[in-house]
Protein backbone atom coordinates (compact mmCIF):
# COMPACT_ATOMS: atom_id res chain seq x y z
CA UNK A 1 0.00 0.00 0.00
CA UNK A 2 1.53 3.24 -1.09
CA UNK A 3 2.16 6.09 1.28
CA UNK A 4 0.04 8.97 0.11
CA UNK A 5 0.52 12.53 1.23
CA UNK A 6 -2.74 13.31 2.96
CA UNK A 7 -4.37 16.65 3.55
CA UNK A 8 -1.42 18.75 4.54
CA UNK A 9 -2.02 22.21 5.81
CA UNK A 10 0.64 23.60 3.52
CA UNK A 11 -0.15 24.85 0.01
CA UNK A 12 2.45 24.61 -2.69
CA UNK A 13 3.11 28.33 -2.53
CA UNK A 14 3.65 28.19 1.23
CA UNK A 15 6.00 25.27 0.82
CA UNK A 16 7.89 27.08 -1.92
CA UNK A 17 8.46 30.19 0.19
CA UNK A 18 9.26 28.13 3.27
CA UNK A 19 11.83 26.09 1.41
CA UNK A 20 13.31 28.98 -0.55
CA UNK A 21 12.50 32.13 1.37
CA UNK A 22 13.13 35.33 -0.62
CA UNK A 23 15.02 38.33 0.67
CA UNK A 24 16.14 37.01 4.02
CA UNK A 25 18.27 39.63 5.72
CA UNK A 26 20.91 39.37 8.41
CA UNK A 27 20.37 42.81 9.84
CA UNK A 28 18.97 46.17 8.88
CA UNK A 29 20.93 49.30 7.77
CA UNK A 30 20.51 52.43 9.82
CA UNK A 31 19.20 54.14 6.71
CA UNK A 32 16.45 51.63 6.07
CA UNK A 33 13.00 51.50 7.65
CA UNK A 34 12.67 48.58 10.03
CA UNK A 35 9.70 47.25 11.96
CA UNK A 36 8.71 44.17 13.86
CA UNK A 37 5.70 42.58 15.47
CA UNK A 38 4.91 39.61 17.62
CA UNK A 39 6.91 37.70 20.22
CA UNK A 40 8.10 34.21 20.90
CA UNK A 41 5.48 33.69 23.53
CA UNK A 42 2.86 34.74 20.99
CA UNK A 43 4.23 32.03 18.70
CA UNK A 44 5.58 34.28 15.97
CA UNK A 45 7.90 37.21 15.48
CA UNK A 46 8.30 39.03 12.17
CA UNK A 47 10.76 41.76 11.15
CA UNK A 48 10.86 43.72 7.91
CA UNK A 49 13.54 46.00 6.58
CA UNK A 50 12.63 48.38 3.73
CA UNK A 51 14.93 50.44 1.53
CA UNK A 52 12.72 53.36 0.56
CA UNK A 53 13.45 56.06 -1.92
CA UNK A 54 10.95 58.83 -2.83
CA UNK A 55 8.16 56.98 -1.07
CA UNK A 56 8.78 53.86 -3.14
CA UNK A 57 10.08 50.58 -1.70
CA UNK A 58 13.18 49.70 -3.65
CA UNK A 59 14.05 46.60 -1.68
CA UNK A 60 12.32 44.67 1.08
CA UNK A 61 13.89 42.09 3.36
CA UNK A 62 12.61 40.00 6.31
CA UNK A 63 13.43 37.70 9.17
CA UNK A 64 10.87 35.59 10.96
CA UNK A 65 10.46 33.14 13.78
CA UNK A 66 7.24 31.21 13.43
CA UNK A 67 5.36 28.51 11.63
CA UNK A 68 5.86 27.84 7.90
CA UNK A 69 2.93 30.11 7.07
CA UNK A 70 4.47 33.00 8.96
CA UNK A 71 7.73 32.59 7.09
CA UNK A 72 5.97 32.18 3.77
CA UNK A 73 3.72 35.21 4.23
CA UNK A 74 6.70 37.42 5.16
CA UNK A 75 8.78 36.10 2.28
CA UNK A 76 5.95 36.50 -0.19
CA UNK A 77 5.29 40.05 0.99
CA UNK A 78 8.86 41.15 0.38
CA UNK A 79 8.37 40.36 -3.28
CA UNK A 80 4.88 41.77 -3.38
CA UNK A 81 5.71 45.17 -1.95
CA UNK A 82 8.97 45.82 -3.76
CA UNK A 83 8.35 48.62 -6.23
CA UNK A 84 5.16 49.68 -4.46
CA UNK A 85 4.60 53.00 -2.77
CA UNK A 86 4.65 53.12 1.01
CA UNK A 87 1.04 54.27 1.17
CA UNK A 88 -0.02 51.23 -0.83
CA UNK A 89 1.65 49.05 1.78
CA UNK A 90 -0.44 50.66 4.44
CA UNK A 91 -3.61 49.42 2.82
CA UNK A 92 -2.84 45.81 1.93
CA UNK A 93 -5.73 43.57 1.06
CA UNK A 94 -5.36 40.91 3.73
CA UNK A 95 -8.02 38.62 2.33
CA UNK A 96 -6.25 38.59 -0.97
CA UNK A 97 -2.95 37.62 0.64
CA UNK A 98 -4.52 34.81 2.63
CA UNK A 99 -6.23 33.43 -0.43
CA UNK A 100 -3.16 33.82 -2.65
CA UNK A 101 -1.20 31.71 -0.16
CA UNK A 102 -4.14 29.37 0.40
CA UNK A 103 -3.93 29.77 4.16
CA UNK A 104 -6.24 27.70 6.32
CA UNK A 105 -8.57 29.85 8.40
CA UNK A 106 -6.69 29.23 11.64
CA UNK A 107 -3.55 30.69 10.06
CA UNK A 108 -4.88 34.09 9.05
CA UNK A 109 -3.27 35.64 12.07
CA UNK A 110 0.08 35.15 10.28
CA UNK A 111 -1.06 37.78 7.80
CA UNK A 112 -2.20 40.11 10.54
CA UNK A 113 1.14 39.82 12.26
CA UNK A 114 3.05 40.54 9.07
CA UNK A 115 0.85 43.55 8.46
CA UNK A 116 1.58 44.80 11.96
CA UNK A 117 5.30 44.51 11.30
CA UNK A 118 4.98 46.42 8.04
CA UNK A 119 2.93 49.13 9.74
CA UNK A 120 5.61 49.33 12.40
CA UNK A 121 8.27 49.83 9.71
CA UNK A 122 6.33 52.56 7.99
CA UNK A 123 4.77 54.22 11.00
CA UNK A 124 7.10 57.27 10.97
CA UNK A 125 6.41 58.04 7.34
CA UNK A 126 3.78 60.45 6.07
CA UNK A 127 0.86 59.17 4.06
Amino acid sequence: MGIEERQMNYSNIVIDHFEKPRNVIEGCDESALSGRAGSKSAGMLVEFCLDVSDGVIEHAGFRAWGCPHTIAVASWLTEEITGKGINEVQSLDLDMIASQLELPAEKWNCVLMAEDALRDATKGTSH
Binding site: I3, F18, V24, S41, G43, A64, W65, C67, P68, T70
Partner: protein, 386 residues
Protein backbone atom coordinates in the same frame (compact mmCIF):
# COMPACT_ATOMS: atom_id res chain seq x y z
CA UNK B 1 7.32 10.85 -2.30
CA UNK B 2 9.65 8.53 -0.45
CA UNK B 3 8.35 7.42 2.93
CA UNK B 4 10.11 9.19 5.77
CA UNK B 5 12.58 7.53 8.10
CA UNK B 6 10.52 6.16 10.97
CA UNK B 7 11.73 7.49 14.31
CA UNK B 8 8.47 7.32 16.21
CA UNK B 9 8.68 3.90 17.86
CA UNK B 10 7.38 5.38 21.11
CA UNK B 11 4.11 6.30 19.40
CA UNK B 12 3.72 2.82 17.99
CA UNK B 13 5.81 0.08 16.47
CA UNK B 14 5.28 -1.92 13.33
CA UNK B 15 4.31 -5.48 14.08
CA UNK B 16 7.24 -7.90 13.95
CA UNK B 17 6.92 -10.25 10.94
CA UNK B 18 6.93 -13.22 13.32
CA UNK B 19 4.03 -11.68 15.20
CA UNK B 20 2.10 -10.98 12.00
CA UNK B 21 2.55 -14.59 11.00
CA UNK B 22 1.25 -15.78 14.35
CA UNK B 23 -1.77 -13.51 14.10
CA UNK B 24 -2.65 -14.80 10.66
CA UNK B 25 -3.08 -18.29 12.08
CA UNK B 26 -6.09 -17.15 14.12
CA UNK B 27 -8.19 -15.44 11.52
CA UNK B 28 -9.57 -17.45 8.66
CA UNK B 29 -11.46 -20.68 8.25
CA UNK B 30 -8.24 -22.73 8.11
CA UNK B 31 -7.02 -21.21 11.38
CA UNK B 32 -8.05 -21.18 15.03
CA UNK B 33 -10.92 -18.79 14.56
CA UNK B 34 -13.44 -20.00 17.13
CA UNK B 35 -14.53 -18.04 20.19
CA UNK B 36 -12.32 -18.98 23.17
CA UNK B 37 -15.46 -18.80 25.32
CA UNK B 38 -17.14 -21.55 23.27
CA UNK B 39 -16.34 -24.33 25.67
CA UNK B 40 -19.03 -26.50 24.13
CA UNK B 41 -16.83 -27.54 21.23
CA UNK B 42 -13.25 -28.47 20.62
CA UNK B 43 -12.65 -25.50 18.33
CA UNK B 44 -13.47 -23.11 21.14
CA UNK B 45 -11.43 -25.02 23.68
CA UNK B 46 -8.46 -25.03 21.35
CA UNK B 47 -8.68 -21.26 20.95
CA UNK B 48 -8.83 -20.97 24.71
CA UNK B 49 -5.60 -22.94 24.96
CA UNK B 50 -3.76 -20.40 22.84
CA UNK B 51 -5.16 -17.54 24.89
CA UNK B 52 -3.73 -19.14 28.01
CA UNK B 53 -0.40 -19.82 26.35
CA UNK B 54 -0.14 -16.15 25.42
CA UNK B 55 -1.08 -15.17 28.97
CA UNK B 56 1.91 -17.18 30.12
CA UNK B 57 4.17 -15.39 27.65
CA UNK B 58 3.11 -11.97 28.86
CA UNK B 59 3.40 -13.03 32.49
CA UNK B 60 6.88 -14.42 31.84
CA UNK B 61 8.25 -11.14 30.53
CA UNK B 62 6.98 -9.33 33.63
CA UNK B 63 7.95 -11.94 36.19
CA UNK B 64 4.30 -12.45 37.04
CA UNK B 65 2.07 -15.52 37.08
CA UNK B 66 -0.45 -16.10 34.33
CA UNK B 67 -3.46 -15.65 36.57
CA UNK B 68 -2.32 -12.15 37.41
CA UNK B 69 -2.71 -11.05 33.77
CA UNK B 70 -6.02 -9.58 32.58
CA UNK B 71 -6.46 -8.87 28.86
CA UNK B 72 -7.65 -5.40 27.91
CA UNK B 73 -7.87 -3.37 24.71
CA UNK B 74 -4.64 -1.51 25.43
CA UNK B 75 -2.75 0.40 28.07
CA UNK B 76 -5.31 3.21 28.00
CA UNK B 77 -7.98 0.80 29.16
CA UNK B 78 -5.56 -0.87 31.58
CA UNK B 79 -4.84 2.48 33.20
CA UNK B 80 -8.55 3.26 33.44
CA UNK B 81 -9.33 -0.17 34.86
CA UNK B 82 -6.52 0.01 37.39
CA UNK B 83 -7.14 3.52 38.66
CA UNK B 84 -10.93 3.72 38.52
CA UNK B 85 -11.23 0.08 39.49
CA UNK B 86 -9.17 0.53 42.63
CA UNK B 87 -10.64 3.94 43.50
CA UNK B 88 -14.17 2.57 43.23
CA UNK B 89 -13.50 -0.71 45.00
CA UNK B 90 -11.60 0.85 47.89
CA UNK B 91 -13.70 4.02 48.10
CA UNK B 92 -14.49 3.22 51.74
CA UNK B 93 -10.83 3.19 52.60
CA UNK B 94 -10.17 6.67 51.24
CA UNK B 95 -10.49 8.96 48.27
CA UNK B 96 -7.00 10.39 47.85
CA UNK B 97 -4.76 9.51 44.91
CA UNK B 98 -1.19 10.52 44.21
CA UNK B 99 0.24 10.72 40.70
CA UNK B 100 2.61 12.94 38.76
CA UNK B 101 2.18 15.73 36.26
CA UNK B 102 4.18 13.90 33.64
CA UNK B 103 1.97 10.82 33.45
CA UNK B 104 0.30 9.79 30.20
CA UNK B 105 -3.09 11.37 29.49
CA UNK B 106 -4.68 7.97 30.11
CA UNK B 107 -3.68 8.36 33.75
CA UNK B 108 -4.22 12.11 34.06
CA UNK B 109 -7.63 12.21 32.39
CA UNK B 110 -8.72 9.23 34.46
CA UNK B 111 -7.68 11.05 37.62
CA UNK B 112 -9.53 14.14 36.43
CA UNK B 113 -12.66 12.02 36.01
CA UNK B 114 -12.25 10.70 39.54
CA UNK B 115 -11.88 14.24 40.83
CA UNK B 116 -15.24 15.03 39.29
CA UNK B 117 -16.61 12.08 41.27
CA UNK B 118 -15.25 13.46 44.51
CA UNK B 119 -11.74 12.02 44.75
CA UNK B 120 -8.81 14.22 45.62
CA UNK B 121 -5.68 13.92 43.52
CA UNK B 122 -2.17 15.19 44.27
CA UNK B 123 -0.11 15.80 41.14
CA UNK B 124 3.59 15.66 41.92
CA UNK B 125 5.93 17.82 39.86
CA UNK B 126 9.02 15.78 39.04
CA UNK B 127 12.40 17.28 39.78
CA UNK B 128 14.37 18.84 36.96
CA UNK B 129 15.32 15.74 35.02
CA UNK B 130 11.78 14.41 34.98
CA UNK B 131 12.31 11.99 37.86
CA UNK B 132 9.82 11.69 40.71
CA UNK B 133 11.72 11.54 43.98
CA UNK B 134 10.23 8.77 46.17
CA UNK B 135 10.44 11.26 49.03
CA UNK B 136 7.91 13.40 47.16
CA UNK B 137 5.53 10.48 47.21
CA UNK B 138 6.14 9.89 50.90
CA UNK B 139 5.50 13.54 51.71
CA UNK B 140 2.24 13.55 49.78
CA UNK B 141 0.80 10.51 51.54
CA UNK B 142 -2.20 10.96 53.77
CA UNK B 143 -4.29 8.66 55.90
CA UNK B 144 -6.90 8.50 53.17
CA UNK B 145 -4.49 7.80 50.32
CA UNK B 146 -5.64 4.67 48.48
CA UNK B 147 -3.53 4.67 45.35
CA UNK B 148 -0.28 5.93 43.92
CA UNK B 149 0.12 5.89 40.14
CA UNK B 150 3.59 6.57 38.75
CA UNK B 151 4.70 5.41 35.33
CA UNK B 152 7.83 3.41 34.62
CA UNK B 153 9.25 4.97 31.42
CA UNK B 154 7.93 8.36 30.38
CA UNK B 155 6.49 8.35 26.88
CA UNK B 156 7.80 11.78 25.92
CA UNK B 157 11.23 12.04 27.42
CA UNK B 158 12.06 8.41 28.13
CA UNK B 159 13.23 8.78 31.72
CA UNK B 160 12.87 5.79 34.02
CA UNK B 161 11.22 6.25 37.39
CA UNK B 162 12.38 4.44 40.49
CA UNK B 163 9.45 2.08 40.54
CA UNK B 164 10.95 -0.40 42.98
CA UNK B 165 11.55 2.30 45.58
CA UNK B 166 8.11 3.88 45.19
CA UNK B 167 6.52 0.45 45.30
CA UNK B 168 8.35 -0.40 48.51
CA UNK B 169 7.19 2.81 50.07
CA UNK B 170 3.56 2.20 49.08
CA UNK B 171 3.59 -1.32 50.41
CA UNK B 172 5.04 -0.18 53.73
CA UNK B 173 2.22 2.36 54.00
CA UNK B 174 -0.40 -0.11 52.84
CA UNK B 175 -1.27 1.99 49.78
CA UNK B 176 -1.89 0.44 46.37
CA UNK B 177 0.69 1.16 43.69
CA UNK B 178 -0.15 1.28 40.00
CA UNK B 179 2.53 1.61 37.37
CA UNK B 180 1.98 2.43 33.70
CA UNK B 181 4.62 0.36 31.97
CA UNK B 182 3.39 0.82 28.40
CA UNK B 183 6.74 2.30 27.38
CA UNK B 184 9.00 0.03 29.39
CA UNK B 185 7.78 -3.53 29.01
CA UNK B 186 10.15 -5.39 26.76
CA UNK B 187 12.66 -2.54 26.80
CA UNK B 188 13.65 -2.12 30.42
CA UNK B 189 13.87 -5.04 32.81
CA UNK B 190 10.76 -5.69 34.89
CA UNK B 191 10.56 -8.41 37.50
CA UNK B 192 7.33 -8.26 39.41
CA UNK B 193 8.31 -11.23 41.50
CA UNK B 194 10.78 -8.87 43.16
CA UNK B 195 9.19 -5.44 42.63
CA UNK B 196 6.31 -4.55 44.93
CA UNK B 197 3.79 -3.39 42.33
CA UNK B 198 0.06 -3.98 42.71
CA UNK B 199 -1.16 -3.03 39.25
CA UNK B 200 0.81 -2.64 36.03
CA UNK B 201 -0.42 -1.60 32.57
CA UNK B 202 1.17 -2.85 29.37
CA UNK B 203 0.29 -2.58 25.70
CA UNK B 204 0.90 -4.74 22.64
CA UNK B 205 1.70 -2.11 20.05
CA UNK B 206 4.65 -0.56 21.83
CA UNK B 207 6.50 -3.88 21.67
CA UNK B 208 6.05 -4.93 18.02
CA UNK B 209 2.70 -6.52 18.80
CA UNK B 210 -0.69 -5.43 17.49
CA UNK B 211 -2.55 -2.27 18.41
CA UNK B 212 -5.80 -2.66 20.31
CA UNK B 213 -4.62 -5.23 22.82
CA UNK B 214 -3.06 -4.76 26.22
CA UNK B 215 -3.04 -6.23 29.66
CA UNK B 216 -3.30 -5.28 33.27
CA UNK B 217 -1.23 -7.08 35.86
CA UNK B 218 -3.32 -7.48 39.00
CA UNK B 219 -1.21 -8.65 41.91
CA UNK B 220 -2.41 -11.84 43.50
CA UNK B 221 -0.30 -11.79 46.64
CA UNK B 222 -1.30 -9.55 48.29
CA UNK B 223 -4.59 -9.91 46.49
CA UNK B 224 -5.79 -6.71 44.82
CA UNK B 225 -9.48 -6.16 44.06
CA UNK B 226 -10.94 -3.94 41.37
CA UNK B 227 -14.37 -2.85 40.31
CA UNK B 228 -14.60 -3.80 36.62
CA UNK B 229 -15.00 -1.13 33.97
CA UNK B 230 -16.69 -3.32 31.38
CA UNK B 231 -19.39 -5.76 32.48
CA UNK B 232 -21.03 -8.64 30.69
CA UNK B 233 -20.40 -12.35 30.69
CA UNK B 234 -17.71 -12.40 33.34
CA UNK B 235 -14.68 -13.11 31.17
CA UNK B 236 -11.25 -12.65 32.74
CA UNK B 237 -12.45 -13.67 36.19
CA UNK B 238 -15.09 -11.00 36.03
CA UNK B 239 -12.58 -8.18 35.69
CA UNK B 240 -13.02 -7.60 31.95
CA UNK B 241 -15.88 -8.93 29.93
CA UNK B 242 -15.99 -9.21 26.16
CA UNK B 243 -15.02 -11.78 23.56
CA UNK B 244 -11.30 -12.42 23.72
CA UNK B 245 -9.56 -11.44 20.50
CA UNK B 246 -7.49 -14.55 19.95
CA UNK B 247 -5.31 -13.22 17.13
CA UNK B 248 -4.55 -10.08 19.09
CA UNK B 249 -3.75 -12.01 22.24
CA UNK B 250 -1.59 -14.58 20.47
CA UNK B 251 0.17 -11.72 18.70
CA UNK B 252 0.86 -9.90 21.93
CA UNK B 253 2.08 -13.12 23.51
CA UNK B 254 4.51 -13.76 20.69
CA UNK B 255 5.64 -10.12 20.74
CA UNK B 256 6.36 -10.29 24.46
CA UNK B 257 8.18 -13.58 24.01
CA UNK B 258 10.45 -12.09 21.35
CA UNK B 259 11.01 -8.93 23.37
CA UNK B 260 12.11 -10.93 26.37
CA UNK B 261 14.53 -12.92 24.27
CA UNK B 262 16.14 -9.90 22.67
CA UNK B 263 15.90 -7.31 25.42
CA UNK B 264 19.58 -7.21 26.33
CA UNK B 265 21.16 -7.27 22.87
CA UNK B 266 18.57 -4.89 21.46
CA UNK B 267 18.94 -2.53 24.39
CA UNK B 268 22.65 -2.31 23.80
CA UNK B 269 22.24 -1.74 20.09
CA UNK B 270 19.66 1.01 20.58
CA UNK B 271 21.66 2.73 23.27
CA UNK B 272 24.60 2.94 20.88
CA UNK B 273 22.42 4.27 18.06
CA UNK B 274 20.91 6.88 20.36
CA UNK B 275 24.33 7.98 21.58
CA UNK B 276 25.43 8.45 18.01
CA UNK B 277 22.27 10.37 17.19
CA UNK B 278 22.66 12.66 20.19
CA UNK B 279 26.33 13.32 19.52
CA UNK B 280 25.58 14.06 15.88
CA UNK B 281 22.75 16.45 16.65
CA UNK B 282 24.61 18.22 19.44
CA UNK B 283 27.20 19.57 17.00
CA UNK B 284 24.60 21.97 15.58
CA UNK B 285 24.73 23.87 18.89
CA UNK B 286 21.95 25.29 20.99
CA UNK B 287 20.48 21.86 21.60
CA UNK B 288 19.26 20.56 24.94
CA UNK B 289 18.26 17.06 25.89
CA UNK B 290 14.96 16.88 27.74
CA UNK B 291 15.08 14.61 30.74
CA UNK B 292 17.94 12.81 32.35
CA UNK B 293 20.36 11.33 29.82
CA UNK B 294 21.54 8.53 32.08
CA UNK B 295 18.36 6.91 33.36
CA UNK B 296 16.33 6.49 30.21
CA UNK B 297 14.89 3.84 27.93
CA UNK B 298 17.39 2.76 25.27
CA UNK B 299 15.83 4.16 22.09
CA UNK B 300 14.39 7.44 23.38
CA UNK B 301 15.74 10.92 22.78
CA UNK B 302 13.90 14.19 23.24
CA UNK B 303 15.70 17.38 22.30
CA UNK B 304 14.83 21.03 22.01
CA UNK B 305 16.46 23.43 19.62
CA UNK B 306 17.00 27.01 20.61
CA UNK B 307 16.06 29.64 18.09
CA UNK B 308 13.69 27.62 15.91
CA UNK B 309 9.95 27.40 16.04
CA UNK B 310 8.26 24.05 16.59
CA UNK B 311 5.91 23.74 13.65
CA UNK B 312 8.50 24.95 11.18
CA UNK B 313 11.01 22.54 12.64
CA UNK B 314 8.64 19.63 12.30
CA UNK B 315 7.78 20.52 8.73
CA UNK B 316 11.41 21.13 7.82
CA UNK B 317 12.19 17.68 9.20
CA UNK B 318 9.35 15.94 7.39
CA UNK B 319 11.81 13.49 5.89
CA UNK B 320 11.88 12.08 9.43
CA UNK B 321 8.78 10.64 11.08
CA UNK B 322 9.29 12.15 14.53
CA UNK B 323 6.88 13.39 17.10
CA UNK B 324 6.47 16.68 18.90
CA UNK B 325 5.28 15.69 22.31
CA UNK B 326 3.32 12.50 22.83
CA UNK B 327 1.52 11.05 19.83
CA UNK B 328 -1.68 11.38 21.74
CA UNK B 329 -1.41 15.10 22.19
CA UNK B 330 0.30 16.07 18.97
CA UNK B 331 -3.03 16.56 17.26
CA UNK B 332 -3.51 19.61 19.43
CA UNK B 333 -1.15 22.50 18.93
CA UNK B 334 -0.19 23.29 22.49
CA UNK B 335 3.35 22.74 23.77
CA UNK B 336 3.96 19.47 25.54
CA UNK B 337 2.55 19.47 29.07
CA UNK B 338 5.29 17.12 30.12
CA UNK B 339 8.05 19.51 29.09
CA UNK B 340 6.25 22.42 30.66
CA UNK B 341 6.00 20.42 33.87
CA UNK B 342 9.78 20.08 33.69
CA UNK B 343 10.05 23.85 33.63
CA UNK B 344 10.90 24.35 29.96
CA UNK B 345 9.63 27.71 28.70
CA UNK B 346 6.82 27.35 26.20
CA UNK B 347 8.78 28.25 23.09
CA UNK B 348 11.47 25.71 23.93
CA UNK B 349 8.97 23.01 24.89
CA UNK B 350 7.32 23.71 21.59
CA UNK B 351 10.55 23.36 19.58
CA UNK B 352 11.18 19.91 21.02
CA UNK B 353 11.07 16.74 19.05
CA UNK B 354 10.96 13.19 20.27
CA UNK B 355 13.03 10.74 18.29
CA UNK B 356 12.45 7.16 19.28
CA UNK B 357 14.43 4.33 17.72
CA UNK B 358 13.42 0.72 17.58
CA UNK B 359 13.92 -2.76 16.25
CA UNK B 360 14.08 -1.77 12.60
CA UNK B 361 16.14 1.40 13.04
CA UNK B 362 19.47 1.26 11.26
CA UNK B 363 22.77 3.05 11.45
CA UNK B 364 21.90 4.64 8.14
CA UNK B 365 18.61 5.99 9.53
CA UNK B 366 20.64 7.78 12.18
CA UNK B 367 23.03 9.18 9.58
CA UNK B 368 20.12 10.57 7.58
CA UNK B 369 18.57 12.07 10.69
CA UNK B 370 21.76 13.80 11.76
CA UNK B 371 22.30 15.27 8.32
CA UNK B 372 18.74 16.52 7.89
CA UNK B 373 18.58 18.00 11.37
CA UNK B 374 21.90 19.83 11.06
CA UNK B 375 20.95 21.22 7.69
CA UNK B 376 17.43 22.33 8.54
CA UNK B 377 18.09 23.71 11.99
CA UNK B 378 20.92 25.80 10.58
CA UNK B 379 18.69 26.99 7.75
CA UNK B 380 15.79 27.94 10.02
CA UNK B 381 18.11 29.82 12.33
CA UNK B 382 19.34 31.86 9.36
CA UNK B 383 15.78 32.99 8.68
CA UNK B 384 14.89 33.55 12.32
CA UNK B 385 14.78 36.86 14.10
CA UNK B 386 15.54 36.82 17.80
Amino acid sequence: MKPPVYMDYAATTPVDPRVAETMMRFLTMDGVYANPASSSHVLGRTARGYVEAARNQVAALLGATAREIVWTSGATESNNLAIKGAAHFYADKGRHIITSRTEHKAVLDTCKQLESEGCEVTYLVPVKDGIVDPQQVADAMRDDTVLVSVMHVNNEIGVIQDVAEIGQLCRSRNVLFHCDAAQSAGKVEIDLSRMPVDLMSVSGHKVYGPKGIGALYVCNEPCVHLQPLIHGGGHERGLRSGTLATHQIAGMGEAFRIAGEEIDAEGQRLRALREKLWNGIATVGGVQCNGCLQTRAPGMLNVCFEGVEGESLLFALRQLAVSSGSACTSSTNEGSYVLRALGRPDHLAQSSIRMSLGRFSTDQDVDVAIEVIREQVTRLRTIAVC
